[in-house]
Amino acid sequence: MSAVTKEIGGASNGGKRVIPANKASKWYPAEDIPALKKARKTAVRHAVLRESLKPGAVLIILAGRFRGKRVVLLKALEDGTLLVTGPFKVNGVPLRRVNAAYVIATSTVVDIASVDVSSFSAAYFAHEKKSKKEGEAEFFGDEEKKQKKVISEARIADQKAVDTALLAEIKKVPALKAYLASSFSLKKGDKPHLMKF
Protein backbone atom coordinates (compact mmCIF):
# COMPACT_ATOMS: atom_id res chain seq x y z
CA MET A 1 0.00 0.00 0.00
CA SER A 2 2.33 2.67 -1.25
CA ALA A 3 1.12 6.22 -0.91
CA VAL A 4 2.01 9.29 -2.90
CA THR A 5 1.89 12.80 -1.64
CA LYS A 6 0.45 15.16 -4.21
CA GLU A 7 0.37 18.93 -4.30
CA ILE A 8 -3.04 20.43 -4.76
CA GLY A 9 -3.90 23.92 -5.83
CA GLY A 10 -6.61 26.08 -4.36
CA ALA A 11 -6.38 28.20 -1.27
CA SER A 12 -8.56 26.26 1.15
CA ASN A 13 -7.77 22.68 0.06
CA GLY A 14 -5.01 21.89 2.50
CA GLY A 15 -2.11 22.16 0.04
CA LYS A 16 -1.17 18.45 0.10
CA ARG A 17 -3.00 15.19 0.01
CA VAL A 18 -1.82 11.62 0.54
CA ILE A 19 -3.18 9.35 -2.17
CA PRO A 20 -2.63 5.61 -2.55
CA ALA A 21 -0.38 4.90 -5.54
CA ASN A 22 -2.45 1.88 -6.64
CA LYS A 23 -6.18 2.58 -6.30
CA ALA A 24 -8.51 -0.24 -5.31
CA SER A 25 -10.56 -1.25 -8.35
CA LYS A 26 -14.20 -0.08 -8.53
CA TRP A 27 -15.43 -3.27 -10.12
CA TYR A 28 -14.84 -6.88 -9.35
CA PRO A 29 -16.26 -9.69 -11.52
CA ALA A 30 -18.96 -11.83 -9.88
CA GLU A 31 -17.11 -15.07 -10.65
CA ASP A 32 -13.37 -15.43 -10.54
CA ILE A 33 -11.94 -15.58 -14.01
CA PRO A 34 -9.72 -18.66 -14.17
CA ALA A 35 -6.11 -17.76 -14.89
CA LEU A 36 -4.66 -19.47 -17.95
CA LYS A 37 -2.07 -22.12 -17.21
CA LYS A 38 1.43 -20.99 -17.97
CA ALA A 39 2.62 -22.60 -21.18
CA ARG A 40 5.72 -24.66 -20.61
CA LYS A 41 6.69 -24.58 -24.25
CA THR A 42 9.72 -22.50 -24.94
CA ALA A 43 10.50 -20.88 -28.26
CA VAL A 44 10.33 -23.23 -31.25
CA ARG A 45 13.77 -24.71 -31.68
CA HIS A 46 15.27 -25.21 -35.08
CA ALA A 47 14.93 -28.92 -35.92
CA VAL A 48 18.26 -30.69 -36.21
CA LEU A 49 18.82 -32.15 -39.65
CA ARG A 50 20.56 -35.45 -40.16
CA GLU A 51 24.34 -35.32 -40.22
CA SER A 52 24.78 -36.01 -43.90
CA LEU A 53 23.08 -32.74 -44.85
CA LYS A 54 26.12 -30.45 -44.72
CA PRO A 55 26.28 -27.23 -46.73
CA GLY A 56 27.95 -28.05 -50.01
CA ALA A 57 26.77 -31.66 -50.11
CA VAL A 58 25.45 -33.04 -53.38
CA LEU A 59 21.88 -34.23 -52.95
CA ILE A 60 19.64 -36.44 -55.06
CA ILE A 61 16.10 -35.10 -55.25
CA LEU A 62 13.63 -37.98 -54.99
CA ALA A 63 10.29 -36.40 -55.83
CA GLY A 64 8.76 -33.39 -57.43
CA ARG A 65 9.50 -31.66 -60.70
CA PHE A 66 13.25 -32.21 -60.45
CA ARG A 67 13.23 -35.82 -59.29
CA GLY A 68 16.44 -37.64 -60.02
CA LYS A 69 18.49 -34.47 -60.30
CA ARG A 70 21.76 -34.12 -58.48
CA VAL A 71 21.90 -30.79 -56.80
CA VAL A 72 24.12 -28.75 -54.45
CA LEU A 73 22.87 -27.99 -50.95
CA LEU A 74 23.55 -24.37 -49.99
CA LYS A 75 22.05 -24.03 -46.56
CA ALA A 76 19.22 -25.05 -44.26
CA LEU A 77 16.48 -22.43 -43.97
CA GLU A 78 14.63 -21.56 -40.76
CA ASP A 79 11.42 -23.29 -41.85
CA GLY A 80 13.22 -26.66 -41.96
CA THR A 81 13.63 -26.83 -45.73
CA LEU A 82 16.91 -26.94 -47.59
CA LEU A 83 18.06 -24.22 -49.98
CA VAL A 84 19.37 -25.88 -53.09
CA THR A 85 20.68 -24.91 -56.53
CA GLY A 86 21.48 -26.97 -59.67
CA PRO A 87 23.48 -24.88 -60.53
CA PHE A 88 20.86 -23.71 -63.02
CA LYS A 89 23.16 -23.83 -66.04
CA VAL A 90 24.24 -27.37 -65.27
CA ASN A 91 20.95 -29.13 -64.72
CA GLY A 92 18.13 -26.57 -64.78
CA VAL A 93 17.40 -26.55 -61.06
CA PRO A 94 17.10 -22.95 -59.82
CA LEU A 95 17.55 -21.63 -56.29
CA ARG A 96 14.83 -23.63 -54.64
CA ARG A 97 13.61 -25.01 -51.39
CA VAL A 98 13.48 -28.75 -50.96
CA ASN A 99 12.18 -30.83 -48.09
CA ALA A 100 14.89 -32.86 -46.39
CA ALA A 101 12.70 -35.99 -46.32
CA TYR A 102 12.62 -36.09 -50.12
CA VAL A 103 16.35 -36.01 -50.59
CA ILE A 104 19.25 -38.45 -50.44
CA ALA A 105 22.53 -36.90 -49.36
CA THR A 106 25.57 -38.25 -51.15
CA SER A 107 29.03 -38.19 -49.68
CA THR A 108 30.22 -35.77 -52.37
CA VAL A 109 30.77 -32.29 -50.99
CA VAL A 110 31.54 -29.06 -52.84
CA ASP A 111 33.39 -26.28 -51.07
CA ILE A 112 30.93 -23.40 -50.81
CA ALA A 113 32.91 -21.08 -48.58
CA SER A 114 33.10 -18.60 -51.43
CA VAL A 115 29.37 -18.62 -52.13
CA ASP A 116 27.34 -15.95 -50.36
CA VAL A 117 23.94 -17.27 -49.27
CA SER A 118 23.33 -15.03 -46.29
CA SER A 119 20.58 -13.04 -48.03
CA PHE A 120 18.27 -16.01 -48.53
CA SER A 121 15.62 -16.93 -46.01
CA ALA A 122 12.22 -18.61 -45.97
CA ALA A 123 10.59 -15.20 -46.56
CA TYR A 124 12.44 -14.85 -49.88
CA PHE A 125 10.53 -17.85 -51.22
CA ALA A 126 7.15 -17.02 -49.77
CA HIS A 127 4.25 -17.06 -52.22
CA GLU A 128 3.10 -13.66 -53.43
CA LYS A 129 -0.37 -12.90 -52.14
CA LYS A 130 -2.95 -12.88 -54.92
CA SER A 131 -5.51 -10.08 -54.73
CA LYS A 132 -8.95 -11.54 -54.05
CA LYS A 133 -10.89 -8.69 -55.58
CA GLU A 134 -12.24 -8.77 -59.14
CA GLY A 135 -13.98 -12.11 -58.80
CA GLU A 136 -15.56 -12.28 -62.22
CA ALA A 137 -12.82 -10.52 -64.07
CA GLU A 138 -10.38 -13.10 -62.80
CA PHE A 139 -12.70 -15.92 -63.81
CA PHE A 140 -12.86 -14.72 -67.38
CA GLY A 141 -9.28 -13.69 -67.49
CA ASP A 142 -8.13 -17.18 -66.44
CA GLU A 143 -7.05 -18.10 -69.91
CA GLU A 144 -4.84 -15.08 -70.10
CA LYS A 145 -3.23 -15.99 -66.81
CA LYS A 146 -1.99 -19.29 -68.15
CA GLN A 147 0.73 -17.45 -69.99
CA LYS A 148 4.32 -18.02 -69.03
CA LYS A 149 5.15 -17.20 -65.48
CA VAL A 150 7.45 -14.21 -65.34
CA ILE A 151 10.50 -14.68 -63.15
CA SER A 152 11.54 -11.51 -61.40
CA GLU A 153 14.80 -9.85 -62.35
CA ALA A 154 15.93 -10.07 -58.76
CA ARG A 155 15.64 -13.85 -58.79
CA ILE A 156 17.60 -14.14 -62.01
CA ALA A 157 20.30 -11.86 -60.67
CA ASP A 158 20.52 -13.79 -57.40
CA GLN A 159 20.71 -17.06 -59.30
CA LYS A 160 23.56 -15.75 -61.41
CA ALA A 161 25.48 -14.44 -58.42
CA VAL A 162 25.30 -17.74 -56.55
CA ASP A 163 25.96 -19.89 -59.59
CA THR A 164 29.06 -18.11 -60.90
CA ALA A 165 30.75 -18.51 -57.52
CA LEU A 166 29.59 -22.11 -57.30
CA LEU A 167 30.59 -23.06 -60.84
CA ALA A 168 34.11 -21.84 -60.18
CA GLU A 169 34.37 -24.35 -57.34
CA ILE A 170 32.74 -27.12 -59.36
CA LYS A 171 35.19 -26.73 -62.21
CA LYS A 172 38.07 -27.44 -59.84
CA VAL A 173 36.85 -30.98 -59.26
CA PRO A 174 37.26 -33.31 -62.25
CA ALA A 175 33.99 -34.72 -63.64
CA LEU A 176 31.85 -32.98 -61.00
CA LYS A 177 30.04 -30.84 -63.55
CA ALA A 178 29.10 -33.87 -65.64
CA TYR A 179 28.06 -35.65 -62.45
CA LEU A 180 25.69 -32.83 -61.53
CA ALA A 181 24.34 -32.73 -65.06
CA SER A 182 23.46 -36.42 -64.93
CA SER A 183 20.35 -37.83 -63.29
CA PHE A 184 20.08 -40.55 -60.73
CA SER A 185 17.92 -43.58 -61.36
CA LEU A 186 17.70 -47.14 -60.15
CA LYS A 187 18.95 -49.74 -62.57
CA LYS A 188 18.32 -53.45 -62.67
CA GLY A 189 19.83 -55.22 -59.72
CA ASP A 190 20.24 -52.03 -57.66
CA LYS A 191 19.50 -52.44 -53.99
CA PRO A 192 19.18 -49.07 -52.27
CA HIS A 193 19.35 -50.69 -48.83
CA LEU A 194 22.85 -51.88 -49.71
CA MET A 195 24.02 -48.88 -51.72
CA LYS A 196 26.49 -46.44 -50.26
CA PHE A 197 25.50 -42.96 -51.40
Binding site: L62, G68, I104, S183, S185, K191, P192, H193, L194
Partner: protein
Protein backbone atom coordinates in the same frame (compact mmCIF):
# COMPACT_ATOMS: atom_id res chain seq x y z
CA UNK B 1 22.56 -47.77 -72.38
CA UNK B 2 18.83 -47.02 -72.31
CA UNK B 3 18.07 -44.29 -69.80
CA UNK B 4 15.90 -45.35 -66.92
CA UNK B 5 14.08 -42.89 -64.75
CA UNK B 6 13.04 -45.26 -62.00
CA UNK B 7 13.28 -43.80 -58.52
CA UNK B 8 11.39 -46.54 -56.77
CA UNK B 9 12.11 -50.12 -55.82
CA UNK B 10 9.87 -52.76 -57.33
CA UNK B 11 7.84 -55.02 -55.13
CA UNK B 12 5.02 -57.51 -55.31
CA UNK B 13 1.79 -57.48 -53.43
CA UNK B 14 1.64 -60.99 -52.08
CA UNK B 15 -1.44 -61.25 -49.90
CA UNK B 16 -3.34 -59.74 -47.07
CA UNK B 17 -2.11 -60.43 -43.58
CA UNK B 18 -3.83 -63.59 -42.51
CA UNK B 19 -3.93 -66.68 -40.41
CA UNK B 20 -4.93 -69.98 -41.99
CA UNK B 21 -8.63 -69.27 -42.04
CA UNK B 22 -9.05 -65.58 -41.43
CA UNK B 23 -7.56 -62.65 -43.33
CA UNK B 24 -7.13 -59.03 -42.40
CA UNK B 25 -7.49 -56.97 -45.57
CA UNK B 26 -6.32 -53.82 -43.80
CA UNK B 27 -2.71 -55.00 -43.86
CA UNK B 28 -0.99 -56.08 -47.06
CA UNK B 29 2.15 -58.14 -47.39
CA UNK B 30 4.73 -56.80 -49.80
CA UNK B 31 7.77 -58.61 -51.12
CA UNK B 32 10.50 -56.10 -51.99
CA UNK B 33 12.89 -57.09 -54.76
CA UNK B 34 16.35 -57.84 -53.48
CA UNK B 35 15.33 -58.00 -49.83
CA UNK B 36 15.61 -61.34 -48.11
CA UNK B 37 15.89 -60.64 -44.40
CA UNK B 38 14.33 -58.35 -41.80
CA UNK B 39 17.69 -56.60 -41.37
CA UNK B 40 17.68 -55.61 -45.02
CA UNK B 41 14.02 -54.70 -44.89
CA UNK B 42 14.60 -52.19 -42.11
CA UNK B 43 15.78 -49.62 -44.64
CA UNK B 44 12.28 -49.56 -46.15
CA UNK B 45 10.23 -49.04 -43.01
CA UNK B 46 8.22 -45.88 -43.29
CA UNK B 47 8.81 -45.56 -47.01
CA UNK B 48 5.82 -44.73 -49.14
CA UNK B 49 4.36 -47.37 -51.39
CA UNK B 50 2.20 -46.85 -54.43
CA UNK B 51 -0.05 -49.28 -56.22
CA UNK B 52 -0.44 -47.84 -59.69
CA UNK B 53 -3.15 -48.99 -62.05
CA UNK B 54 -5.00 -47.91 -65.15
CA UNK B 55 -8.68 -47.39 -65.63
CA UNK B 56 -10.87 -46.61 -68.61
CA UNK B 57 -12.45 -43.45 -67.24
CA UNK B 58 -10.30 -40.37 -67.12
CA UNK B 59 -10.31 -38.57 -63.79
CA UNK B 60 -8.82 -35.08 -63.55
CA UNK B 61 -7.01 -35.55 -66.82
CA UNK B 62 -5.48 -38.97 -66.24
CA UNK B 63 -6.37 -42.61 -66.76
CA UNK B 64 -3.72 -43.67 -64.30
CA UNK B 65 -4.71 -44.05 -60.67
CA UNK B 66 -2.73 -44.62 -57.51
CA UNK B 67 -3.43 -46.05 -54.10
CA UNK B 68 -0.83 -44.76 -51.65
CA UNK B 69 0.36 -46.50 -48.52
CA UNK B 70 3.42 -46.99 -46.41
CA UNK B 71 5.54 -49.83 -45.20
CA UNK B 72 4.89 -50.28 -41.54
CA UNK B 73 6.96 -53.22 -40.30
CA UNK B 74 8.67 -56.40 -41.17
CA UNK B 75 6.83 -59.70 -41.56
CA UNK B 76 8.48 -63.02 -40.94
CA UNK B 77 12.13 -63.83 -41.40
CA UNK B 78 12.55 -63.64 -45.17
CA UNK B 79 12.33 -59.94 -45.83
CA UNK B 80 8.62 -59.62 -46.49
CA UNK B 81 7.10 -56.43 -45.10
CA UNK B 82 3.68 -55.29 -44.02
CA UNK B 83 2.13 -52.23 -45.54
CA UNK B 84 -1.00 -50.25 -44.90
CA UNK B 85 -2.71 -48.40 -47.68
CA UNK B 86 -5.14 -45.49 -47.60
CA UNK B 87 -7.75 -47.83 -48.89
CA UNK B 88 -7.17 -51.56 -48.75
CA UNK B 89 -5.70 -53.16 -51.85
CA UNK B 90 -8.28 -55.47 -53.41
CA UNK B 91 -7.46 -59.20 -53.63
CA UNK B 92 -7.30 -59.09 -57.39
CA UNK B 93 -3.98 -57.28 -56.98
CA UNK B 94 -2.24 -60.28 -55.40
CA UNK B 95 0.82 -60.84 -57.53
CA UNK B 96 0.71 -57.31 -58.93
CA UNK B 97 3.65 -54.97 -58.86
CA UNK B 98 3.85 -52.22 -56.34
CA UNK B 99 6.28 -49.26 -56.22
CA UNK B 100 8.26 -48.63 -53.07
CA UNK B 101 9.48 -45.03 -53.12
CA UNK B 102 12.75 -43.95 -51.57
CA UNK B 103 11.11 -41.21 -49.51
CA UNK B 104 10.78 -40.20 -46.66
CA UNK B 105 14.50 -40.57 -46.81
CA UNK B 106 16.85 -40.92 -43.90
CA UNK B 107 20.17 -41.10 -45.73
Amino acid sequence: MPETHRLYVKGKHLAHQRGKRNSHPGVSLIQIEGVSSPMEAQFYFGKRVAYVYRAKKEIKGSKIRVIWGKITRSHGTSGVVRAKFRSNLPPKTFGASVRIMLYPSNI
